[in-house]
Amino acid sequence: MVEKKQPKVQVRNLTKKFGDLLVLNDISFDVQAGEFLCIVGPTGCGKTTFLNSLTKLYEPTAGEILLDGEPVDLKKHNIAYIFQEYSTMPWLTVEENVRFGLDIKGVEKQKANKLVDEYLDIVGLTKYRKYYPDQLSASMLQRVVIARAFATQPELLLMDEPYGQLDIQLRYHLEDELISLWQRTGTTVIFITHNIEEAVYLGQRILVLTNKPTSIKQAIDNDLPRPRKIASPDFVKLRNEVTDLIKWW
């Protein structure tokens, strides 16, 4: 017997208006469990608005977003949200920052210690565990935030242009780290960017959005083998394909 698998996230006819400004216009799509989905769209098209609707910061004007078939509840569902601003707590050390989410969720102490050690090691910050955020560089801060998110073992990880402010070198490095974390943990990721190359590099599937009022232009499956080479002909071909689809300019 073949059981029909329920999608992890179901977006159903989502519409969001701010006053008279129609931002999201009747958007529907699914995200499968364990999928790495990239959403590309021009600045101001409503990408952040979508995530904020998912996390209940905004109330949708119409439609709904379901997680495992239920309305989202942050106290119950374990969602991690990483934004562009490095939201580390400046009064906590690196390790205390990584532990923060575990404390909030009341994870038992020994288990929390183990998780903190593990994820500090994965993002390469073990040596800096006693440092305060003020003493760290931008990329290290972003790693703290990522370790904090993964340590809570989220069922859904939302990332909103997390690497927008980093230079290219660091971005590649952190993107590789992210992919390996994703492969290791099997968590579901929705990654938002306006950078086409980043979307092609990371995404298992790429959702291309239109300008405002925003709808889905096309969904593209991306099964290029990993690790992906940005100079390879297949990569360039797919990148050009997405670029042609977009032509925001």
Partner: protein, 267 residues
Amino acid sequence: MIDSTTNSRFTNKQLIIIYTIISLVCLLIVWELVARFTSASMFLPPASEVLTAFFRSFAEPIGQHTMLFHVGISLYRVAVAFLFATVIGIALGVGMGYSRLFEAIFKPLFEFIRPIPPLAWIPLSILWFGLSDTGKFFIIFLGCFCFITVNTYDGAKNVDPELMGAARMLGANERQVFFKIVLPSSVPYIFAGLQIAVTAGWSAVVGAEMIQSNEGVGWVIIRGMSTGNTVQIMVGIVAIGIVGFILANLTSALERRLCAWNAQKGI
């Protein structure tokens, strides 16, 4: 400015200490000369006389007690009042900064009380509390609690909304947001308030001890005034100055320890 590159023989810290000592010695010399050789000697006893009396006051009592006891009893009064001011000031400040309702209820009341100088409360304090220590606590309390409240309020108002959002995203409830984000991120503001408040509270002790008392550094001054003893007045002033200086330095040392994350910026 002190430039460390040209004076490699001393560290910056040592230089600051050296300059401080030089400035103090100069002050004492000028004071001594003015008091000895100008007509100011009518109201200003020379530095040597005041300092001698000051040191002697540790061995020989002024009134019924030696200086250490006077300082101790005044410190005790400040400490009690300061403790109450800290608890109430932080609670009120953080409450007003965090909750709109709380702010609406208490802010107008607070803004009304804030500009009233602590000394203006003395008559009321005598009527309410008589001549007991409670009245003195009350005056010192009023002298320092506003600083703590205002600073804490500022801190709680200035909490980074990103951080509150991040905590909520991780599933924090309102109580956790309050204790894990709002309170700790207000700590540097609270400390700035405590620092001002310690000094202000210590200054208010003179006023508080003007309500009849038989001991305390404020009393030393008041007593000196009523007996026309200028040297004793100045001995009291010197004691208040020295203790105030020590208190200010102690609190900033404490701040450097407890707010290491915030101090790192400057260094």
